[in-house]
């Protein structure tokens, strides 16, 4: 099978959907003439023209709201945030307009649109460019939140997101755009809200999603050398969450470690932990553990980034603790 970059998988998804449906358009900062801040939309202006690949001024609140208004009136916008860190100035339109419109209009105005861009940290970018927002958006009814971890999932899920009639938050990572992975030729869709068991194992379940999955795989490889077979569940979607796949895995392994690049309070790991204790209490042979980021803003220095982030070593340590090894 051919191998392409994460950014190319996203571009294929966008381009295929724009060829398929003239109501789909891409709008955001630097998406057109600059070819995308991270080159996701490279070449798309040439193919689709400036009616459908639209550069905006730096005005996230304004263009997010214009996207929601366009969705109310029959279009299917894809709004790119250069990073979800900038979505904070647009969050009124995401939460108060996009997420609530169908409900407060009594079912009259659907919002079939996608907000997409990178989330969380990407090295030494300092405090204001490094926050993870998955749990923020996942908290809000009306939204769906997708966080793919590889090019194959990214393409299939982005196509599904664009075709979905609900507003979808689609979160990527600067540290994934160059990742390569197998993506078949031709069209395919992946279902929103279905987790994927990325690695089979019997001793412990590791649940994660998005970029930090890479640390989980590295940890599992090391653990395997010591005879510990970890099962890795990739949530892929954090609203809705596929609890059944997680619970089924935990009932088999009897141990759970949740890995998440996010602050700990009221995080996705908190939610997973609640649901597993409620539905699989009698199956647990050890307390559920989690690895999150440190409960602080991310500082610049490399030593502090290292200390802040989840990584394979931290995962290995905690897995061994739940294995009582």
């Amino acid at each position: 099978m051919r191998t392409i970059q994460f950014r190319e998988a996203l571009r294929e998804a966008l381009s295929e959907e724009m060829r398929r449906d003239p109501n789909v358009f891409l709008m955001g900062e630097e998406v057109a003439e600059y070819n995308g801040a991270y080159k996701v939309s490279h070449g798309m202006l040439d193919e689709f023209g400036d009616k459908r690949v639209i550069d905006t001024p730096i005005a996230e609140l304004g263009f997010a709201g214009i996207g929601v208004g366009a969705a109310m009136n029959g279009l299917r916008p894809v709004i790119e945030f250069m990073t979800f860190n900038f979505s904070l100035v647009a969050i009124d339109q995401v939460i108060n307009s996009a997420a609530k419109m169908l409900s407060m209009s009594g079912g009259q105005y659907k919002i079939p649109m996608v907000f997409r861009g990178p989330t969380a940290s990407a090295g030494q970018l300092g405090a204001q460019h490094s926050q993870a927002f998955e749990n923020w958006y996942a908290n809000t009814p009306g939204l769906k939140v997708i966080v793919p971890s590889n090019p194959y999932d990214a393409k299939g899920l982005l196509k599904a997101a664009i075709r979905d009639d609900d507003p979808v938050i689609f979160m990527e990572s600067e540290q994934m755009y160059g990742d390569k992975g197998e993506v078949p030729d031709g069209e395919y869709l992946l279902p929103i809200g279905v987790a994927d068991v990325k690695r089979k194992g019997t001793h412990v379940t590791i649940v994660s999603f998005g970029k930090i999955m890479k640390a989980c795989f590295a940890a599992a490889d090391e653990l395997a050398k010591e005879g510990i077979e970890a099962e890795i569940v990739d949530l892929r979607t954090v609203r809705p969450i596929d609890y059944a796949t997680v619970i089924e895995s935990v009932k088999k392994t009897n141990r759970l470690v949740v890995v998440e690049e996010a602050w700990p309070l009221a995080s996705i790991s908190t939610e997973i932990t609640y649901m597993v204790q409620k539905n699989a209490f009698d199956y647990l042979d050890a307390p559920i553990r989690r690895i999150t980021t440190a409960d602080v803003p991310l500082a610049y220095a490399p030593t502090l980034v290292e200390e802040f982030m989840p990584n394979a070593a931290k995962i290995i340590k905690v897995v061994k603790e739940v294995m009582y090894k």
Binding site: F25, K51, T56, P57, A59, L61, G62, F63, A64, G65, I66, G67, V68, G69, A70, A71, M72, N73, G74, L75, D92, Q93, N96, S97, M101, L102, S103, M104, S105, G106, G107, Q108, Y109, K110, P112, P141, G142, K144, D164, D165, D166, G193, P240, K278
Partner: protein, 331 residues
């Protein structure tokens, strides 16, 4: 001059529609005190000429969106008052199935894109609705209403900039009743002539005496034609006044009784009534007939609302997602 160019029928329509808005809102105020209507409740009394003056300038495919002082805007597009009243009651027969309430009046068949509750939030939405019309190649115009308080939000400036940059067919209409809740326009900025805010973006703009329905009509006609011709957005500052407080819980102690009385002496409905009688477009008896008709519509809207059911509890999880089988967390 302006007063002579409108037909008798137009004046009669304006009188009836403005009186309907007035009587509807007066009844809403009474029903609020009786606790039939709950939540927040912002009345339009005094501002009727803005809505009525637009009615004579737009067509069925045009769009409107506004903020939370939104009870009568649906009338502009032909929504029957009883469905708005039922929404105020929280009944399932309301325009938004009782899920919106006072601040969220929507009617998709009438291209009413809502009442919105976050000050200024509807301004980018209005630009986006217009963006879709331009994208689809129609010549439909979007009317985007806002209060004077909203013009101080960043959303306005971002939306104005992009609306001009992309020549979107949207008329931005400031309903300047001089108070953002309790804060006067003068206390919110050095720039108090609000139509001049368009100048920063080269947006054509004009102030309007919005106590005069004729003046509103004239200004709207120019602005709507400008948009329909593909020339981009237009800004109108409607200088108006609300007789009541910001909401039902506001005693309006920030202004004098004399100020309120001064505006009431220019009452837009009274002005149209005077014209009708002076020009002998209608007799006293014909006016009484209209008054009775309006009162009957309001009475019937109350009866309809009283007799309508609240949404069933099973509605709670409906209309949250377009997806029919969304797996909500139940515990």
């Amino acid at each position: 001059m302006a007063k002579t160019k409108f037909s008798k029928e137009t004046y009669l329509m304006w009188y009836e529609q403005m009186l309907l808005m007035r009587k509807f809102e007066e009844r809403a105020g009474q029903l609020y005190i009786q606790q039939k209507i709950r939540g927040f409740c912002h009345l339009y009394i005094g501002q009727e000429a803005i809505a009525a003056g637009a009615m004579s300038t737009i067509k069925a495919d045009d769009n409107i969106i506004t903020a939370y002082r939104d009870h009568v805007h649906p009338f502009i597009k032909g929504v029957e008052p009883k469905y708005v009243m039922a929404e105020l009651y929280g009944k399932f027969t309301g325009v938004s199935k009782g899920k919106g309430g006072s601040m969220h009046m929507f009617s998709q068949p009438h291209r009413v894109f809502g009442g919105h509750g976050i000050v200024g939030g509807q301004i980018p939405l209005g630009a986006g609705i217009a963006f879709a019309e331009k994208y689809k190649g129609t010549n439909n115009v979007t009317l985007c209403y806002m209060g004077d308080g909203a013009v101080r939000q960043g959303a306005l400036h971002e939306a104005f900039n992009m609306a001009m940059l992309w020549k979107l067919p949207v008329v931005f209409i400031i309903e300047n009743n001089n108070y953002a809740m309790g804060t006067s326009v003068e206390r919110t900025s050095n720039v108090v002539e609000l139509y001049t805010l368009g100048e920063s973006y080269d947006m054509p703009a004009a102030p309007v005496d919005a106590m005069s329905v004729e003046a509103v009509h004239d200004a709207m006609e120019i602005a709507v034609a400008h948009c329909r011709d593909g020339k981009g957005p237009y800004l109108l500052e409607m200088k108006t006044y609300r007789y009541r407080g910001h909401s039902m819980s506001d005693p309006a102690k920030y202004r004098t009784k004399e100020e309120v009385e001064e505006y009431k002496s220019q009452d837009p409905i009274q002005r149209v009534l005077t014209t009708l009688l002076e020009k002998k477009y209608a007799t006293e008896a014909q006016i009484e007939t209209i008054n009775d008709k309006v009162n009957l519509i309001v009475d019937e809207s109350v009866t309809f609302s009283e007799e309508s059911p609240f949404p069933d509890a099973s509605e709670l999880y409906k209309d949250v997602y377009a997806q029919e089988d969304y797996p909500f967390i139940r515990e």
